[in-house]
């Protein structure tokens, strides 16, 4: 039987992946309150529908090999299109997002069952997921930006979902503001991209990704301020990525975002929000490749973020915040390996996406299990007040252990295959691309991150799950119910065995490596595949030849494993066996601890110095200008208007008859004029 | 043989009545006068029917002194009484307005007659409606002309220079504008389904499929209530609430002037029942049975069917009068605007959907 004839071409229904959650959003908002358990079903089922279509597309493309597909139509201006694209990159994201989001929704049916605004919560999460689908499916920058912002709006709404708590409201605002900084710059980048595309004389599909990729050779000659325009654009994109994916200076909103419901944290960290930034770099990867130095910046920012966030994870006591910092750190890994794409080519995208998917599974698992902990002991989040929970909630405890093992890349878990590969490839990058001490910096950062990751992850797990209960609520935790337990088990399975299922990741990588280099079918024609070597040459990047084997010393390969074991051993010694008394170092007068505790004073810098000193000073000058110059002009205009009105208002008698008489008189005069000058009507 | 003669006869009749000849309008005028006379008889029959049926409902005997066995001549006696009564014109009335009002009311009622087909002959597959005249917008004409009657009521109330009369007239107007909207919308829904403003087409449409009362039950209910309100019958007879308003807007009228107005009300009832039968109850059609009879005498069957339905509807209307109490004027208006109008709109939506598939 010919499979092409007997199955549905799901690629044609790709827009429904995005639309179904939007419909779910509307239904939840309008009638969800009166439905089963006061909401939840519409959102969950709509995302299930999206999931079915996503996996249908995956079947079409991966098994049936129907080819990549893109369709678009004119949107609002000649040259601006709206469209959807189906290729391995978007498929990997779609399948991951729909799967994780579905299970988070499934979990939330249990987790949010006591909330009075349940339907609003589910409406917002459905919109959140739908926006993410839209973002992933977008075939052009503007559409992507719109969904990017919608994701931001939804995160604002959801982080501040418990708005009656002032911290939650402030956290929502902070998330929005931090992202907005990056988003403004991102939009500027899109505008610049539009400008230089138009300068090339391109009139259709101006900011579609595929069209940009086709024209990279011309675009790379554009210069702005003596720099390559593409580099500037990529730096601006990178700013957007830093805001959305919590890169180094703009990550400050992530820990505060823990004020939202835990399911929201899981959604933000695993599926929908923060992965958007990584996805943007992956989607725009050829642009970065063609821009000189852009990928180097990406690599350094990512690696630095990875290390930086893991140091902060060591001192935080809030269970959810520990995982939040680990997310920042893991995103740093992904961004760093994308930066290594300067040498690895599209394989870097594959590695980054595999780590993204694996991370989504285990991070969703970690958040959901910590949500289960919070649910079980009455919203206590401080790990110093937990302890011994595994006796009371074995399901939660063991599944969290599975997540933690995956996070620290314990052998044969999902993280082992994804993260160790990243570190290995970072070494390759350093050794091939940029010999010298500086080139090894990303690799060093990433390797150091491993030990810290192992330490802080198991610090959290040991303190929460083992030992003696340290507060009253932790004495009698209650285990989570059916909805939540099912989700935890499913996610734990994938967190442990995703790597093995995908053949150590190789199946996934091979599939993803077809992105960009294969042709894309559209309704009107075909975009040929890209020659990434050629494109890399435009940006001064020399890619490794395919199939050429490079020796990596065995020491480098096994170093992350050793360091992970070392970190695990430290955590076990300190927090499980209690051989070392940390309270000697964890003191307010320890300057190192002080810095870490205050998160390197970054919040202080943003709020107290930039916001209150610099911006307020500028505003003061602006105020003077506004009050005397601009208002003066406005007042002059109004004065002129008033004076002329004083004269002409005499005409207005307020008596209707006068007006009617004037109208009739005027019309009569007009008719007479017409008759006079035209000799008849 | 007989069939052919019948065919020729009807053909000649319709040639005479046609618009082509100069005498056509005159003959139709004569026919109209005949219909007018017939309508007076029907109205008198309605008055008699009301009194007898009411007495039956209330276990009374009813009129039985004058006339034969069933008091049949009671109406003649009443009419003679009205004719011979003194025509009193109160001193302070607004003369012309006061005098014109009953004429206008009676006139508007009579004007409705010409558009209504009182049954039809069906012969050899052709329908010959039994109407004074036929035109394409008869249902619209009926609604428009019945609206003139409201002006008559206002003139009666205002011209009488009597506060009871004015209040009664305004109750009447307030009620009628409220219910005419719902009435009009239900009629329009029928028109939407049929695609024609011609009553004959509407009746024929029901003959080929099914009565509109069954496909638009909501519309039929709204139409029925609004029609009863429009006719000013209990429970919507606030304008004649004797306890409050003496005799309503007719307080200052006596003799034949009152008689005219009184008759106009009954003609309204008779014609209203006709319209209900025509547009919702299939007119002269028998359900599920298309009358195409070649036997000449059976060609009259549709007329008989129509008359039977008409009497049944009238009896229903009369029965309601003696079964329900009168409701307050504010309740009347709020029912009209807040219940019937939305329901009529729902029905309109339903009619639009129905019209897409009609005739199925």
């Amino acid at each position: 039987m010919d499979p092409n004839l007997t199955t549905i071409d799901f690629r044609l229904y790709a827009h429904w992946i995005m639309l179904l959650p939007m419909i779910g959003f509307l239904l939840e908002l309008l009638i969800g309150k009166y439905w089963w358990r006061k909401g939840g079903m519409f959102a969950t089922l709509s995302i299930l529908g999206s999931m079915i279509i996503s996996y249908g597309c995956l079947y079409n493309v991966y098994v049936q090999e129907l080819g990549f597909w893109e369709y678009s139509w004119d949107w609002f201006y000649p040259g601006i299109v709206a469209g959807f694209t189906i290729d391995p990159l978007s498929l990997a994201m779609l399948c991951m997002v729909s799967f994780i989001s579905f299970f988070i929704h499934f979990y939330a049916i249990g987790y949010m069952s006591h909330d009075c605004a349940k339907n609003v919560y589910f409406a917002e999460t459905a919109l959140f997921t739908g926006s993410m689908f839209g973002l992933v499916l977008s075939n052009n920058l503007l559409q992507l930006f719109i969904f990017w912002e919608m994701v931001g709006v939804c995160s604002y709404l959801l982080i501040g979902f418990w708005w009656h708590k002032p911290e939650a409201a402030a956290a929502g605002k902070k998330a929005w503001m931090s992202c907005a900084v990056g988003d403004c710059l991102f939009l500027l980048g899109i505008a610049m991209m539009y400008t230089i595309m138009v300068k090339q004389g391109i009139t259709s599909e101006i900011i579609s990704f595929n069209n940009i990729f086709q024209n990279l050779e011309h675009l790379s000659h554009e210069m702005i301020f003596g720099m390559s325009a593409l580099t500037i654009i990529c730096i601006l994109f990178m700013c957007g990525v830093l805001g959305k994916s919590a890169g180094f200076p703009l990550h400050v909103w992530i820990p505060d975002a823990m004020e939202g419901p835990t399911t929201v944290s899981a959604l933000i960290h695993a599926a929908t929000m923060v992965t958007a930034g990584v996805y943007l770099i992956a989607r725009a990867f050829p642009i970065f490749l063609a821009a000189p130095n852009a990928l180097m910046i990406v690599a350094f920012m990512g690696a630095f973020t990875a290390l930086y966030a893991s140091t902060l994870g060591l001192v935080v006591n809030d269970l959810k915040r520990i995982f939040a910092y680990s997310t920042i750190s893991q995103l740093g890994y992904m961004i760093a390996i994308l930066g290594c794409g300067a040498v690895l080519g599209v394989a870097a995208v594959a590695f980054a996406l595999f780590h993204l998917v694996a991370h989504a599974f285990f991070k969703a698992l970690l958040f959901l299990s910590s949500g289960s902990v919070l649910h079980g002991i009455g919203n206590v989040r401080d790990i110093k007040e937990m302890g011994g929970l595994i006796k009371g909630m074995p399901w939660t405890g063991w599944t969290m252990l599975a997540g933690a093992l995956a996070l620290i890349a314990f052998p044969f878990t999902a993280g082992y295959y994804s993260k160790d590969k990243i570190i290995e490839e970072a070494y390759l990058y350093a050794s091939v691309h940029d010999p010298g001490p500086l080139g090894y910096l990303p690799w060093i950062f990433l390797v150091l991150g491993v030990i810290l990751t192992a330490t802080y992850t198991f610090r959290a797990w040991y303190l929460a799950m083992t030992g003696e209960p340290k507060s009253y609520p932790a004495v009698h935790p209650h285990e989570c119910g059916f909805w939540m337990r099912t989700t935890l088990v499913v996610l734990a399975f994938f967190a442990l065995f995703l790597g093995i299922i995908t053949g150590g990741g190789t199946k996934f990588w091979h599939f993803l490596e077809e992105t960009f280099v294969h042709e894309t079918h559209t309704a009107t024609g075909i975009y040929p595949g890209l020659d990434l070597h050629e494109i890399g040459r435009l940006g001064g990047n020399t890619l490794l030849e395919h199939g050429v084997h490079h020796d990596i010393p065995a020491a480098v390969i096994y170093l992350p494993l050793l360091l992970m074991i070392a970190g695990l051993a430290i955590a076990t010694m300190v927090y499980y066996k209690n051989r070392v008394d940390v309270s000697k170092y964890v003191k307010k007068d320890n300057p190192l601890y002080q810095i870490l505790w205050n998160k390197y004073y970054l919040d202080y810098l943003f709020k107290d110095i930039i916001a209150e000193k610099i911006i307020m000073t500028v505003f003061t000058f602006w105020d003077v200008l506004d009050r005397y110059v601009i208002d003066g002009v406005v007042n002059l205009m109004s004065w002129i208007t008033i004076q002329s009105g004083q004269v002409s208002r005499k005409l207005q008698t307020g008596v209707v008859q006068n007006y009617a008489t004037a109208v009739i008189f005027g019309v009569s005069m007009l008719m007479i004029l017409v008759i006079m000058f035209r000799g008849g009507l | 043989m007989l069939e052919e003669q019948m065919d020729i006869l009807l053909g000649i009749l319709y040639t005479i009545l046609g618009n082509e000849n100069w005498w056509g309008p005159w003959i139709r005028g004569v026919l109209g006068l005949c219909a007018m006379g017939g309508m007076m008889v029907a109205a008198m029959f309605a008055v008699w029917l009301e009194r007898k049926y009411a007495s039956d409902i209330q276990s009374r005997i009813g009129p039985n002194r004058v006339g034969g066995r069933f008091g049949l001549l009671q109406l003649i006696a009443d009419a003679i009484k009205l004719f011979t009564k003194e025509d009193i014109k109160p001193d302070k009335v607004d003369g012309p307005v006061w005098a014109a009002a009953p004429v206008l009311m009676f006139g508007s009622a009579l004007m409705m007659i010409i558009a209504i087909p009182f049954g039809a002959f069906i012969f050899n597959g052709t329908t010959y409606p039994l109407a004074v005249t036929q035109f394409d917008i008869s249902i619209l004409y009926l609604e428009a002309v019945s609206a003139i009657g409201i002006i008559g009521i206002f003139m009666a109330g205002w011209g009488s220079n009597n506060k009871f009369a004015v209040i009664a007239a305004f109750r009447n107007i307030a009620r009628m504008i409220g219910y005419e909207v719902a009435l009009g919308m239900t009629i329009i829904s029928v028109v939407i389904v049929t695609g024609s403003l011609n009553i004959v087409d509407i009746v024929n449409a029901q003959g080929s499929v099914v009565w509109f009362a069954f496909v638009m039950p909501l519309g039929f209910v709204v139409f029925g209530v609004a029609l009863i309100a429009d006719m000013g019958r209990v429970p919507f007879d606030q304008n004649e609430a004797e306890e409050e308003l003496i005799a309503g807007w007719g307080t200052e009228y006596s003799g034949m002037r009152f008689g005219l107005a009184y008759f106009a009300e009954y003609i309204h009832m008779v014609l209203g029942s006709c319209i209900a039968v025509l547009i919702f109850l299939g007119g002269w059609n028998i359900p599920g049975f298309i009358v195409d009879l070649n036997i000449p005498l059976l060609g009259l069957l549709p007329v008989a069917v129509f008359l039977a339905k008409w009497v049944l509807v009238m009896m229903f209307v009369i029965m309601i009068r003696w079964a329900l109490p009168r409701i307050r004027i504010d309740q009347v208006t709020s029912i009209g605007w807040k219940v019937l109008l939305p329901l009529a709109m729902v029905n309109l939506v339903w009619a639009v959907m129905l019209g897409l598939v009609w005739p199925w």
Binding site: Q652, T653, G654, V655, V656, Q657, T661 | -
Partner: protein, 100 residues
């Protein structure tokens, strides 16, 4: 067939009467009545032309105009009633709120 000029003359007279009323009367209700007269004159022209050139579109215009007139009357009389409730007067000489 009545000549077109007769219709136009009649409509002109009707319009002039309405216009005269608008210019001279001060009672708000009477003003609106005069507006209705003028509208009717205009409609009569439309219908007359439509009959004259044997084209139904003039009648369609007249129907639109009638529908518009109904809406206009409803709004106009509602305004007058509200003004009456506020001021206990419908004499528009007294209603000059819009005057400077």
């Amino acid at each position: 067939m009545i000549p077109l000029q007769y219709y136009l003359l009649l409509a002109g007279i009707l319009f002039a009467i309405g216009a005269y009323g608008i210019m001279t009367l001060s009672n708000g209700i009477r003003l609106l009545m005069c507006v209705e007269l003028m509208l009717n004159a205009a409609n009569m022209n439309l219908v007359a032309f439509s009959t004259h050139i044997n084209d139904a579109s003039g009648q369609v215009f007249a129907l639109f105009s009638i529908a518009l007139a109904a809406a206009e009357a409803a709004v106009g009389f509602a305004i007058i009633l509200m003004v009456y409730r506020l001021r206990a007067k419908i004499d528009i000489e007294n209603i000059k709120l819009l005057r400077w």
